[in-house]
Point group: C2
Chain length 506, copies 2
């Protein structure tokens, strides 16, 4: 989309997508690796994006009757052991606290004060929250419990990647307990719907809502629903999950209640979450060879005013004009909120500032220089267009034009992502075409290939496992469809209820 | 203040203040102990209070040029060791991660995958943030760095107490780096000022701003400023701190920059924080023998509408009226914000609901029953008055009266706390009176005694240590005063620059 320039990201998306991504995260000042293996430092511009996500999602959770609470960071080892499948899935790679003190020995600090029972830094909180709910719930009158927490979690990752897969990450985890199975299923579906709405309306990301197969299910869940996004190397990213846990965790944690009939029943529980992974997804979905591109509705700053000050004596006048423009736009609204404006008043040259904001992905830039002072105009540049494509616009017209242009950008990013996904989604009915679709043409440097294959599948776990082994392709989800059409599974020749979504994934 | 009743907190504040506090935290549904030693579960009503605190403080931080970021939960052991004094202060009791995996051995999960270097769960983040700043800072142009993070921290506590002293707690920690000493000192003082403004305006808590003595200083700091509150057992609570770290941490972490003169200099850094401890302080300062009392400006719900439904057939009409009142008050403002209203529509009797909200400390209750439907009134009850003291008020008058009454409550809590502190603060000039002031009269069950003693002190660390040993009394702070008056230290007979604040503390 953008004209390549000396400031562009190197390599390009096409040349080396994973490396392009690392460079965009760096150039956009979103995050960096820390000295602690697998843990990242989320930088202010990246964290501001997370704060926007938090604020919007939090509002959606509260509007649907949820409240926030906070549960301990540590889980006693014995808790984790209660739900057998959960153990299998989560006990593998996690941070284990074994000591509660350090002592100086021969000039070196060493762990001391060994714990009787080791503590696990939460990889997710079903077990610790479950044991709390067990204390809170006595009667059906205590249900539902609809809580969420914003927290950090830790899963020891062998191959960390900023935002997408880090040892520590930030997320929200909703945990609810219900009187009936239907209510719990309805909750699971409702929260999936909220995630879909959020990614569509704010992140301009089309996602497929579906259910995971048994092999990809959350350990201990009865059903795992997910939203699956496609990014620009045609891979899938699981951007959010919502789990119907049945009575599994309620039984493990002993969440029992007296029913309306006077019987003692186990509660039905759910859990659902999205994480800082959404930031990585966003960057991979919308970024270009110049850097990040943030959809206006999620960008922390939507409009950045960039003063160009060629001569020192013009500084005051230009900065004052920038302030005046920001003031003028104070009451301007876009999508029901005040337009978020920032002035980059750093004492560096205008072109460098301009490129910084291109890389950071600010939706709109307003460049103002000495000539604009005379003409009463600014140069307006959209991040979804080439960097040099600028429109001179009168300052009076800004308050009307800015909301229109922000809406256009939001829409154009959505359209672009949707077209990309459509272009790389294919209904495939034969095994040969399937293998061909997912096989890179160039073996030394695998180019971008594949996408979503909509293919029939008869439910065979063996077929699923073989595709994973042969092609690293998994079933991303069984899409939730109104009227699924039956067909034949090309891998087994057996009848299939519906097409499922296959893809390679992060 | 309130009439004792069968629903009151037992014991009373006077009979057993620490136990009263535990019971208030429980009855107000603020938090509870978890199964993980020293870690608490913050319940929705307690967490909503924290969310209010976060939102207000975050706004104040951003208005003064700070931005949020996020740094790793874990600190490599070697980092902690860099600043010698810091090690002394913080390496003692902390959670140590030594393994990154669990393995099933003979049916039991055991730690596996020992780390080459143990990781410490952050007790505070100076060291890990310092090592990051060292990478970011090259020139004076990169300064100041003004960042804050909202995070959880862990300090292994031997005697945990909900909110006041827990192994894990939530806080914000600001970390800034500056070009000059003066700038860093100004930042330290500015943030202390923000904490004082916040506690005064929102928490209705008078605090003393001052500097800690060397023995109470943050490990590694050059100066530690604090705000000290007095709670109802006359003890002090350190409610917030702001540290001028000089170049100590910059030297330990190697934060160096090229100065305007071209020389290589170490940065000057600060750190400052408040935590969930503020919730405990608030409860201890304002609560009464009926439960919590929340100042309106901080309460998550300021007005709770409590439907009294004696007969089932009246339910719809009464609930509809409650909704209508909430709607009527939608545009009502208090202190620049929409009044926060909640309807308690739980299907339990009105009196129980009423007592729940008394215990939770909601500033205003509006009871509505069948008789009110006819008369167009509600019964208004203020949490700063006795539970049975109610005012019948016409629904039309509510939108005018509610903001007035909320302002009155906010003011009355402030006045009450200020009078309490004044009553229990004494200028003491002799050793005898000092010892008498801080010695309980009744040895078997120590009653509430003491308070703040404003006494001269010549700076002697020995005198300070002796008072701590004899009376468990410490110097809470050396107050920041415009024109301190000199005098004589009663413990050493030496000249003293000013009176300092002595007290027992949590």
């Amino acid at each position: 989309m953008s004209t390549p320039s000396r400031n562009a990201i190197s390599p390009t998306r096409h040349d080396d997508f994973p490396e392009w991504y690392q460079q965009v995260v760096r150039a956009a000042e979103m995050a960096e690796n820390s000295e602690v293996r697998g843990c990242m430092v989320i930088k202010p511009w990246g964290y501001a994006l997370w704060e926007r996500m938090q604020s919007i999602l939090d509002g959606m959770f509260k509007a649907t009757g949820h409240r926030n609470a906070y549960f301990p960071l540590f889980i006693p080892l014995s808790h984790l052991q209660k739900e057998a499948e959960h153990v299998e899935g989560f006990a593998k790679e996690c941070a284990v606290v074994t000591h509660h003190r350090l002592e100086m020995k021969e000039g070196k600090l060493v762990p001391a004060g060994e714990l009787t029972e080791p503590l696990i830094v939460r990889p997710t909180s079903e077990t610790i929250i479950g044991s709390t709910y067990a204390k809170w719930v006595k009667s059906y009158r205590d249900l539902p419990i609809l809580l969420n927490q914003w927290a950090n979690v830790v899963r020891w990752e062998m191959r960390p990647r900023l935002f997408l897969r880090t040892a520590e990450f930030l997320w929200q985890e909703g945990h609810t307990a219900h009187e009936t199975e239907q209510e719990a299923i309805a909750e699971t579906e409702k929260m999936l719907g909220i995630y879909e709405t959020f990614t569509r309306e704010y992140l301009a990301l089309p996602v497929i809502c579906g259910e995971k197969t048994a092999s990809e299910r959350f350990p201990g869940a009865v059903r795992t629903y997910c939203i699956e996004a496609m990014v620009q190397d045609c891979k899938a990213i699981q951007a959010g999950t919502s789990h119907f846990l049945g009575q599994n965790f309620a039984k493990a944690s002993d969440i029992k209640f007296q029913s309306r009939l006077g019987t003692l029943e186990h509660a039905w529980t759910t859990s659902w979450g999205v994480s800082t992974r959404l930031i990585g997804t966003l960057l991979m979905a919308h970024g270009d060879d110049d850097g990040a591109i943030l959809p206006p509705r999620i960008a922390a700053s939507q409009v950045v005013i960039i003063p160009f000050i060629p001569k020192e004596e013009q500084r005051t006048a230009i900065l004052e004009k920038a302030e005046a423009i920001a003031l003028l736009l104070r009451t301007t609204q876009y999508a029901g909120e005040a337009v978020r404006i920032e002035i980059d008043s750093r004492d560096i040259n205008g072109s460098t500032k301009n490129w910084d904001w291109i890389k950071r992905g600010a939706p709109l830039r307003l460049e103002i220089g000495p000539r604009d002072l005379e003409s009463g105009t600014v140069a307006l540049a959209r991040r979804d267009r080439a960097p040099k494509e600028k429109e001179s616009i009168s300052i009076e017209a800004l308050s009307e034009r800015i909301p229109e242009i922000l809406a256009e950008i939001q829409h154009s990013l959505w359209e672009r992502a949707l077209i990309f996904r459509t272009t790389h989604t294919r209904e495939i009915d034969t095994k040969e075409e399937f293998y061909e679709f997912f096989t890179p043409k160039n073996k030394t440097q695998p180019e971008i290939h594949g996408g979503f294959a909509l293919t029939h599948w008869n439910g065979s776990a063996e077929a699923e496992a073989k595709l994973k082994e042969d092609l690293k392709v998994t079933i991303r989800c069984i899409p939730l469809e109104e009227a699924p059409k039956a067909g034949t599974c090309p891998f087994t020749g057996e009848p299939s209820r519906q097409r499922v979504v296959f893809g390679k994934s992060y």
